[in-house]
């Protein structure tokens, strides 16, 4: 426990000891005289000069003075402050909050074409003129973007020209604003100066925000309207893509619009081609008298529909990009009239399986089929299995699974014979082959262990390969014992007793899994789901999808992963946003438009390109929305800072009371006490 002083200034009160000393020094000395009788002295008092008639109340007066002195001391300890309302009213501080969200880019379509933001800036300039020049006060301006900031901080009349210049250079964002954070910053100013007034410029109705806040609503339903694309979802259903669109009108809109749709890079297996543009008619009729100035229309775009210009005979199996756009609308907010849809090119996973004929098992093939179904939505899994070494591939696939055997040509070439464009999975490799390639890999074959009983496997260090796999339920009856060199990069994933039986290496140029036991000698066939999870994990671990979504709102961060060695992110102008080598990672998306994510491999594979579109937030399309910040800034409570410390005066009062008490105490006493 530490002793702390809340108000060290209070020790000034010790100066009172000095006052006390002075009182004692100045204390008059009374000579004690024993008289035969004081009778006449008492009688003589009535002939004395008229004095303050305090004698009857002397004791009460002394008590009152002492009580007041103690009360004054208590008040001093309580740090009294005199809050002057008059003083507060003299202050003229203004805090301006300008909403810089994308909806503030809305234009007055039927008149000047000024945006809400421009009008907010203009009105702020007038306010600056009023407060700084005419009233001689101070002003602060908070630009409420994604992260609100003071662009003008407590400026006075001397900074007038600078403030005007800053306001003219202020820009509206394409994203959402954090008005609550901005109001918190404004509230902080009001807490320091309870008389400060806050003016908020926004097009979003924010409700009552307290008597300190003047809200200026810049929306104008007579001069603003907007049609925007809320969402376009390319859904892969029954081996084809179906496009679901959600478009909406905001404001008093009654018109027929045409939605322009271009689907590019369609590849149904016969080569990529672009579909002729589609024009989808959309009718809006927002009830002008209704309270809700919003109308949503949901569409399904069918490229085979001739009525909208569809000429496609077959379904869309994949696509590069889809452009969805309202053209020639001339609405208030054109930023939401265009949307690009990506994600129509699914990852291809080609699995090559080579197994000696004697050990071929049906279980493996069924497992792969389950794998295909599992990744149907995100990946195209192609599986090839052969028992003929002549057809066993060592290039051109993504995953090479060699079960019980390693092709002789690989064994003869040692480590360099392994495929260099994908993941090599050695399932129970034969002893002779491992003696050949093992030293090069860093895996030294030791011995074959035949267990007398069925033995359960155990976890190695936490590894993604064992996600969802019930390792404790798995068991084997025989395995090969390998010893991994420390610098081999092999990580033991599963153990049987103290011996590792599943190794994994994830180098950019060498991705290898070695399973040192035979599926036939395990209970995987009775637990196919665990085998499926193991394969899924293998694909997710070595070949993660780059993006989990292909459309973002501005200001969001894209979570990216990489199956290669690095990921290059560029914006729509081709400028590099970031080059990532650590994954998973996040990429900030601060501009509207298409971002390109290029995966580069150290393996002998071509770059993989994925794209994503960054748009304005959907909510910003709603020009006349109402939000309740549930935030109040009140300056009716005139609290601190504006008050004057009256500590000193109470100290003076205490001293005066003590002196008066002392005077009364030592005043001529008649009748004793």
């Amino acid at each position: 426990m530490i002793l702390q002083w809340l108000l060290p200034l209070g020790f000034l009160g010790l100066a009172g000891i000095g006052v006390l000393a002075v009182i004692y020094i100045l204390r008059p000395k009374y000579t004690r005289r024993v008289l035969p009788s004081t009778f006449m002295w008492i009688r003589s008092q009535k002939y004395r000069r008229k004095r303050m008639p305090i004698e009857p109340f002397r004791d009460w007066l002394i008590f009152l003075l002492q009580a007041l002195a103690i009360a004054a001391c208590a008040i001093i300890i309580a740090s009294p402050r005199l809050v002057s309302e008059e003083l507060i009213n003299e202050s003229n501080e203004r805090v301006v909050v300008i909403d810089a969200s994308a909806s503030m880019r809305s234009k007055l379509v039927k008149t000047t074409g000024e945006t809400r933001f421009k009008r907010a800036i203009d009105q702020t300039k007038l306010l600056v003129d009023e407060v700084l020049i005419r009233q001689g006060g101070s002003i602060s301006v908070i630009l409420a973007g994604k992260t609100p900031e003071f662009i003008v901080d407590d400026a006075d009349r001397h900074s007038y020209s600078d403030v005007i210049e800053i306001l003219e250079q202020a820009e509206c964002t394409y994203g959402s604003s954090d008005l609550e954070a901005a109001m918190l910053m404004a509230e902080d100013r009001v807490l320091h100066n309870p008389a400060a007034k806050v003016t908020v410029f926004s097009g979003t109705e924010l409700g009552y925000m307290g008597d300190a806040v003047t809200f200026v609503n810049l929306s104008d339903s007579d001069k603003e309207w907007n049609i925007g694309i809320c969402n376009c979802n390319a859904s892969y259903e029954q081996n084809q893509y179906v496009f679901y669109l959600d478009v909406a009108a905001y404001g008093k809109v009654s018109m027929d619009a045409m939605l322009h749709v271009e689907i590019k890079g369609i590849d149904n297996g016969d080569g990529a081609f672009d579909l002729d543009p589609l024009d989808v008619p959309v009718s809006f009729n927002v009830n002008e008298n209704g309270e809700e100035l919003v109308q949503h229309v949901n569409l399904i775009v069918d490229p085979t529909n001739e009525e909208i210009g569809g000429s496609l005979e077959n379904v869309v199996g994949s696509f590069e990009e889809v452009l969805v756009q309202f053209r020639g609308l001339n609405d208030s907010l054109p930023d939401d009239d265009t949307l690009m849809v990506y994600g129509g090119q699914r990852d291809r996973v080609a699995i090559e399986h080579y197994v000696v004929e004697d050990n071929r098992n049906i279980f493996f093939a069924s497992g792969i089929r389950s794998l295909v179904q599992r990744f149907e939505k995100t990946r195209d899994v192609m599986f090839t299995s052969t028992i003929d070494e002549e057809y066993a591939k060592s290039s051109g696939s993504d995953i090479y699974m060699y079960e019980h055997v390693v092709p002789e040509k690989i064994a003869e070439m040692g480590q360099n014979g392994l495929p260099n464009d994908g993941i090599t999975v050695l399932l129970d490799p034969n002893e002779e082959a491992m003696r050949e390639i093992g030293p090069g890999l860093g895996l030294q074959f030791k011995e074959h262990k035949q267990l007398g009983t069925f033995t359960h496997l155990t976890y190695g260090p936490p590894h993604m390969l064992t996600n969802r796999v019930s390792v404790e339920e798995l068991g084997i009856s025989a395995y090969d014992l390998y010893e991994a060199a420390p610098d081999s990069g092999f990580v033991p994933v599963l153990y049987c007793g103290d011996d590792p039986v599943l190794f994994a290496r994830n180098w950019h140029a060498s991705k290898i899994v070695v399973m040192a036991f035979s599926i036939n000698m395990s209970n995987f066939p009775t637990r196919p789901q665990d085998f499926l999870f193991l394969l899924c994990n293998m694909i997710d671990f070595y070949m993660p999808v780059t993006l989990s979504q292909y459309c973002f709102e501005i200001g969001e961060k894209a979570t990216v992963n990489c199956k290669g060695s690095s990921l290059l992110v560029t914006n729509m102008r081709g400028e590099t946003v970031s080059l990532l080598t650590e994954f998973p990672n996040e990429v900030p998306l601060d501009e509207i438009g298409t971002y390109t994510f290029t995966t580069r491999f150290s393996l002998n594979k071509p770059d993989e390109v994925r794209k994503a579109y960054v748009r304005t937030p959907v909510i910003e399309s709603s020009l006349f929305r109402i939000e309740d910040l549930n935030f109040r800034i009140m300056n009716s409570d005139y609290i601190k800072e504006m008050g004057k410390d009256i500590f000193f005066w109470f100290a003076v009062l205490a001293v005066v009371l003590l002196f008066v008490e002392y005077w009364v105490q030592h005043r001529d006493i008649i009748g004793g006490r």
Binding site: P28, K29, Y30, T31, R32, R33, V34, L35, P36, S37, T38, F39, M40, W41, I42, R43, S44, Q45, K46, Y47, R48, R49, H666, D668, I669, I670, G671, G672, R673
Partner: protein
Amino acid sequence: MKNFLNDEFFDRLEVLSLNFKSSLMGLFGGTHKINSYGQTVEFADFRDYVLGDDVRKIDWNLFARFGKYFIKLFTDERRMHIRIFLDCSRSMGAVKEKAEYAISVAAAFGYLAVRNMDKVSFYLINEDKCENPFGYLVGKNAFFSVIENLAKVKFEGDAKISDAILSTSALGGNDGISVIISDFFTDNDWQKAVNYLTFKAHQVLLVQTLLPDEIHPSFTGRSELIDSETEQFVDGRHLRLRIGRQMISAYTQAMDEYLEEIKTFSRKLGIDFLTVSTGVPIEDMLFKRLLDIGLFRRLT
């Protein structure tokens, strides 16, 4: 006490005598002539004979001259009782001079009484009691036998003159002088006692004995005044004063008014009052002031 109560002091008193009011009746056996007629040999007057008078007192010479019976009257002589009430409170004894002075005055009255064959009693007032430790003294021998003890009287506590005198028995009536020696600095209603004594037809003399400082304080400055009768700091009689010229003036004014109050009271009752300062020689009081007011008379 030896300053006053000595032979020289008493010798000087030989020329003085108490002068009693003629209305006093006194007691049998004294030397003081009174207004009534008695059995002495000194002729006083005649009056007509009435039936029942002693025929032996008829003046036959006048019968022979006027043919009427006249009775011959003679003067009467009585013994007076001098009661001396001495305030024995601490205020009287706090200062030695004041006590000595008071005792000397008492002794003087006592001596003059016994010298004229009167009876004297010393009543010592202490608190609300009035003691008579020496009894009734008649004759010089009796007086001198107690004078030493009188000098050793202790002055203690308070003196409630009124309560003490009113509680005293055997105060007689119309038989002599009652002398109250005190400073009369008391809240006790001593006037009630004086009223009682006058009711008893005593000739009353009030002797107020004061120190010079009590008549006119000589000290100034900030003072804590403590009454000697309590000597308690917490007491109603305690004062803390800054004594200056204005305060002295107030005191003098208060003193004058108090004396005037006593004098007025005395005049109303027809009693004598005398204020004496211990600073003034006692001879001045005995041989001048008491003579002036007629209580003493000089023997020729």
